[in-house]
């Protein structure tokens, strides 16, 4: 049985979450921004698993399965959007697509 205190486990999940948040704020490449969102989803799921193990309930794992479904949908839609953006603008820079109307 794992005897690491639950505070340490939550701290680990928090570190992973903040690494994802830093990546989302710092990087401008949309592939990297999407990867950072994935990291944050994953750490949120990790907190659910930690809590479900702590109280010995299956609800945490059920919530992780829901997060998995949401992540799959989000990734497929976001990657299709990234492909469209790349075909229109020939770049993946998130700052280059801040116009609703084409200016060039």
């Amino acid at each position: 049985m794992l005897t690491v205190p639950v505070e340490t486990q939550i701290l680990f999940a928090g570190i992973i979450f903040f690494l994802g948040l830093i990546g989302l704020l710092v990087r401008r490449n949309m592939i990297f921004m999407l990867m950072s969102i994935e990291i944050m989803f994953n750490s949120a799921g990790l907190v659910f698993i930690i809590a479900g193990t702590h109280w010995k309930q299956p609800d945490g794992q059920v919530m992780f399965i829901f997060i998995l479904a949401v992540t799959a949908v989000e990734v497929s839609i976001a990657l299709a959007l990234i492909l469209q953006v790349y075909h229109h603008f020939k770049t993946l820079d998130a700052d280059a697509i801040n116009n609703l109307k084409d200016t060039n």
Binding site: I31, I49, T53, S76, L92
Partner: protein, 172 residues
């Protein structure tokens, strides 16, 4: 038992840092896969073996492969001249070391296999399935609707049939 948790946590944190700070998208994605594998080790240690398998199969297996396909389709950072640079030790030594740490973790876990077996208090997939299809049945149906919307949306956004654009939509 606790040392496995700390080793996997350190591997996950280092590979996540490398993933968000990399220059090459493919290298970052491989670091991210390594991070997901380390987190699946942690799921196993947290007596959730079913979720650990799902993490490997769906996250590292399906979603990250989707990322890699799209990154390869967009042809990001794939200059032929840099191919020789990839074979330098500074490119592959860090991910190899991190993966080797996970391998050593696995070997040590297999050595004292009695202590790492899921205990009787582990939440088994049977409980998860019963809870999923009784208490959370409405959530399953909502997730099914969401997946259907995702399929239709991805098909609609990914289609490139329209060769003729309206003149207001054309670049140039």
């Amino acid at each position: 038992m606790n040392v496995f948790f700390y080793i996997a946590a350190v591997v996950a944190i280092i590979s996540t840092i490398m993933a968000i700070s990399g220059r090459n998208a493919i290298h970052s994605l491989l670091y991210l896969i390594l991070s997901l594998l380390a987190i699946s080790v942690i799921f196993y240690l947290l007596s959730a073996p079913f979720i650990a398998a799902l993490e490997v199969i769906i996250y590292a297996g399906a979603i990250m492969v989707l990322f890699i396909f799209v990154t390869m389709m967009l042809n990001i950072g794939l200059e032929r001249e840099t191919e020789k640079k990839w074979l330098k030790p500074c490119m592959w030594i860090v991910p190899s070391l991190l993966a080797a740490v996970l391998l050593v973790n696995l070997i040590l876990a297999l050595k004292n296999v009695k202590s790492i077996q899921p205990d009787e208090e582990a939440i088994l997939p049977k409980q998860v399935g019963i809870s999923l299809f009784s208490t959370y049945l409405l959530g399953v149906e909502i997730a099914a609707i969401l997946l259907m919307a995702g399929v239709i949306g991805a098909y609609h956004l990914g289609s490139q049939k329209k060769k003729v654009k309206h003149r207001f939509l054309e670049i140039n």
